[in-house]
Symmetry: C2
Subunit: 406 residues, 2 copies
């Protein structure tokens, strides 16, 4: 095999690691407890109902179900999703503005593809979803990082950045139970963010796969609900509230942006599997999705509480952490001298048999090393307690080692 690296695109340069490479550490020890991958719980998947839904969809639609359809996707499912974001996000839209995608990931990638030339400026909250950074990286933008506060994006810092960099085209945000921090943006900030977008002329990519998984309140109005100029693209997914193997995400867009997204979508993969979308449509006809989500919330709520309790009980005062009220994740901030990746390989895995995702890849410039993401969905409350106790012990060691005793 000869080396063909000179024939690859810059975006695929193997010397520059991808934001998604080596993300999930492996620990094969039988005591291992994983807080790493953000996977939903398989034991809560509605498998029998979905099997019946596939059968119904194929029986009712026949051969035409399997013919080429449209880039936008199954109209019945699009109508239901439009109604859903109307009800739970206060976004007034119709099936005509919904596009079905291969998970939320493809929706993000399509927006990046429709908007970004090489070197174009974009703003992201930090830390942010690694998969979004990987998608943006394909189009080689110039990043501006804006910090998060307890109620979401720091809008003063964002406006400072916009004043200095008025050519910023796109802002990416996860406003609901943010990945990786669990933070939710306040309603006031959602409104103000749209005002900023109108004043500084940029597009908002609102990525909201966790919005239905709030453990203390119903979903807030989407940022898209404040959009009067067609400059917000709302993205969500069925991966976390139904099953990720359906690979069904969706977006809501308007006007020029919708046309551009559909155009690059058609050139990318024509359309996605209509049989799956028809099955989901049949599932939604025959089942109460909100009741299913209630059951998910009851489970995940207890897991989330166990995690926060463990962090409170077992972690030293020098360590910060968020208190999510929804979603899958908690974000831990170690003292600046402690490298979360080194702690993982040198102590958390070999001593504590606990895995997590070190936070560096959640920053576009990979310049912060003391954060880590914990996912609480894959373990029971008891396992979470045991894991936090073990991880807390090695974190204490590291903090003491990093700080000289006075």
């Amino acid at each position: 095999m000869i080396m063909l690296q000179d024939l690859l695109a810059q975006r695929a340069n193997p010397d520059v690691p991808s934001a998604l490479s080596g993300l999930f550490p492996q620990d094969t020890d039988p005591r291992a407890l994983s807080f790493a991958a953000g996977s939903p719980r398989e034991d809560l998947f509605p498998v029998a109902a979905m099997r019946a839904a596939f059968d119904t969809a194929i029986t009712e639609n026949g051969a035409h179900l399997f013919q080429y359809q449209t880039a936008q996707g199954n109209p019945g499912l699009r109508a239901k999703l439009a109604a859903r974001i109307g009800k739970w996000g206060q976004v007034t839209t119709t099936a005509d503005n919904v596009v079905l995608t291969v998970g939320g990931q493809q929706a993000i990638e399509l927006v990046a593809k429709a908007v970004l030339n090489v070197g174009d400026e974009i703003a992201v909250e930090v830390p942010t979803y690694v998969g979004a950074l990987a998608a943006f990286d394909l189009y080689q933008p110039t990043y501006h990082a804006v910090p998060l506060q307890a109620d979401g994006l720091d809008l003063d810092r964002l406006e400072d950045t916009l004043k200095r960099h008025p050519r910023i085209k796109l802002l990416y945000t996860v406003p609901d139970y943010h990945n990786p921090t669990g933070i939710t943006m306040s309603i006031a900030k959602r409104r103000q963010l749209v005002d900023l977008a109108n004043r500084y002329d940029f597009i908002i990519l609102e990525d909201s796969p966790y919005r239905d998984l709030g453990y203390t309140h119903v979903p807030l109005p989407a940022i898209k609900s404040f959009d009067t100029a067609g400059r917000v693209v709302f993205v969500s997914s069925l991966s976390k509230i139904l099953m990720p193997g359906l690979r069904t995400g969706w977006l809501v867009a308007d006007g020029d942006l919708l046309a551009a997204i559909l155009r690059v979508r058609l050139a990318s993969d024509l359309e996605t599997a209509n049989v799956v979308h028809a099955a989901i449509d049949a599932y939604l006809e025959a089942n109460d999705l909100d009741a299913h989500i209630d059951a998910l919330r009851a489970n995940y709520r207890a897991q989330c509480a166990a995690l926060v309790q463990g962090l409170t009980a077992y972690f030293p005062d020098e360590v910060g952490y968020t208190r999510p009220d929804g979603g899958f994740f908690d974000w831990v901030t170690l003292p600046e001298e402690v490298d979360a990746a080194a702690l993982l390989t040198q102590a958390a895995i070999p001593q504590a048999h606990v895995t997590y995702v070190p936070g560096t890849n959640f920053y576009p410039n990979r310049d912060v090393h003391n954060g880590l993401r914990l996912c609480f969905t894959g373990l029971t409350p008891h396992e979470i307690d045991v894991g936090m106790q073990r991880l807390g012990a090695v974190v204490k060691q590291a903090v003491r080692g990093a700080r000289p005793v006075v």
Copy 2:
């Protein structure tokens, strides 16, 4: 709604039409006969067997089927496809080198994404598949067009082009029952093409969705079968031999190229719907795909023969056409003065009630206007005869109108 065009990427510029825009003309007249869209026949879809396969796959695999899996896709299906291209294409490979994609379209787009920077040089045979041009256009390459001969790509012209443009990175070809011409590349040329790629250091993208649909002989060895340097990416699809709504394509790649493709794939959509791939795997366990393909061939062979017969009987001598021995398409070359798009809207639709795809978009520089593509899969032999008679009449008018009577 305000105009956001200034915020779009160049690749989505609405002032530049996409290669895929307005491709399929509509004629709502009850007499209308469509030779336009390249859709397979729905009445030949194995719907009942696929419904059973979905049921088997979900029953046997349970919840884990619907969890996140891998970017490469279902291992069982990959192994079967690797064996298939071994048997029918003489390509020695394994499941480890196969990637499942959203149709062949995504496979093409992923190769473009892994290889092309803005302005990079690529060579394509002309005319060529419009969807490939749309995928390449996303990455804004510089095109070099190489003509086709009756036995495939003109390799002398290709070598001339390579001498003048030694930085060409990628050559795209559809060697088997080519879209849009139906031409098949000879075995000798396949071997020579790989030699050229080794000497001039470029990648070959071999796109072969029709290879199983030969009406006179078994499939030829793939170009990939002559590849010893890992520089050929083989792409195929189940859309034409099973059903397009499954949105299942696949590629075979090696080494650096495989790694680059998987990297950009992960960033694009993570992975595709495992439930569909598991169902196809179950279908292939329970059914004889080759027997199904034999039935397709028996039908399409008669339709293909009717088309060539109609062209021979009803078209004037000034018009050229190919004689495909497989695939879906025939390519008609009108006298240079006759514009196929104008003929369609001014005569073929209003007078003959026949639609086809005008050929301009099959050329990367949109600089040839006298070709048209006919698809013969959607109509019965009798309808094909009627359609060719009607189209032949308006073509005769146009040819007489274009050529002064001496």
